[in-house]
């Protein structure tokens, strides 16, 4: 799996795509593989304030539950409701249809502190 150039990544295996002042957040392909079959996704509600590096929710696989750390700060403007009914989508299309939340970025410069696709690829290559 290649990591899209249009996304920026964290070492905790989340990604964000910034378009204007909106950031779309998800977990990486590496993360879904590590988790295995995902059975629950807990996400914040629209209007919730989230902070870079803090937990914004959790994903739960058959094996274990893991926190999702927000790659950026901002206010949640949209939640991917389809994941409540079909959490397995996170195993199938983590960089696309299975995005988690969209936020209005309160500190857009945070995105620049994140890893590029190439750097993330190197990072997960080294980790595994």
């Amino acid at each position: 799996m290649s990591y899209p150039e249009s996304l920026r990544y964290t070492k905790e295996h989340e990604w964000v795509r910034a378009e204007g002042d909106i950031g779309t957040i998800g977990i990486t392909d590496h993360a879904q593989k590590e988790l295995g079959d995902i059975v629950y996704v807990d996400l914040p509600k629209v209007g919730a304030k989230i902070e870079q590096g803090k937990s914004l929710g959790s994903v739960e696989s058959v094996k274990a539950v893991s926190d999702i750390y927000s790659p950026v700060s901002g206010e949640v403007v949209e939640v991917n409701e389809t994941l409540a009914q079909a959490p397995e989508k996170l195993n199938q299309d983590p960089h696309g249809a299975a995005w988690l939340v969209k936020v209005r970025l309160s500190a857009p410069d945070e995105v620049k502190t994140l890893l590029s696709a190439a750097d993330y690829q190197t990072y997960v290559g080294a980790e595994s």
Binding site: K33, E34, G36, D37, V39, Y40, S58, E60, S61, V62, K63, A64, V65, E127
Partner: protein, 369 residues
Amino acid sequence: MAQSVVLKRTPLHAVHVSMGAKMVDFGGWDMPVQYSGLVDEHHTVRKGVGLFDVSHMGEIEVRGPEAVRLVDYVTTNAASRLHIGQAQYSGLLYDHGGFVDDILVHKVADDHFFLCVNAANQEKDFEHICAANQFNAQVEFASDRYAQIAIQGPLALRTLEQLTPVELGAIGYYWFKDGTVSGVPARIARTGYTGEDGFELYVAPAEAPRIWNELLNAGRDYGIKPCGLGARNTLRLEAKMALYGHEIHASITPYEAELGWMVKLDKGQFIGRAALAKQKEQGVRRKLVGFEMRGRGIGRDGYEVRLDGVPAGWVTSGSPAPSLNRNIGLCYLPASDVRLGRAIQVMVRNQPVEAETVSTPFYKRAKTA
């Protein structure tokens, strides 16, 4: 990832890595947790046939004219009542009645017993048995001489029979036969940890990779898949088979774990007998019970269980059950509160989630003709 300790490897380690298994540290062993995916592997074992490397398990051999006396003295079940070629589930206990380990006892000959024990407990078990050996039996730590492969599922027999002259259908559940697999000596036991039919094979470590590959070839038409410890755990939990360190440990007795059937108080003296006899007379204070989540969430190992909002017990194992499409678990509760259909609350990340006690096993395979 930085590795501060060197993980132990089974003879099949290189095979797992080359086949792309996801490896994890499992009690100091670098083991495959999954191959194609936990749920997929789980269903493969329920419907077809799956292959597990369980070579991390330990083996202890007890020999000599007094072997049966030693085994009977250190275990709860009655080794003296086994026939040659028969196996039994049993407990190794401390004097106070708590578990040292849960084990499988195989009677190879009148003067030879073969014990299969948990990986993480093998050294402790060996020392425990040696310390109790007032009978002059020979006790050998034999783990290095055995690899163990489990072939499990309704099509396990039809897969394995292609590689052995042994008539597998003649081996009853919890019986075993010494024969050959792929032309080399193998102990073939009709046992398992999945709730399905199947066999556990004990073979020489050097032969394990070849046998593993030949089993995968033999099962190809049946859709055989290599499976990891992740599926092994969901399969055993659905079948309500205990896992050491979870349902049972040094502070839990067989009666509390609902394993009283493996305790034979009438067989004579054994380690832990006095404590168990007393507990049987007085009754247990806590008991293992199955539950199903009613609210949204999964009660996992170690989570607190509440009754009417009051802390009352803990979850020993919990998981989504792939064969049942429910979230199940086992927990300890005060014995006086254990009844089916009792509402309980499991604390899932500091939030009480509704659950209900249910009968177990959660899953039972259909009897085949």
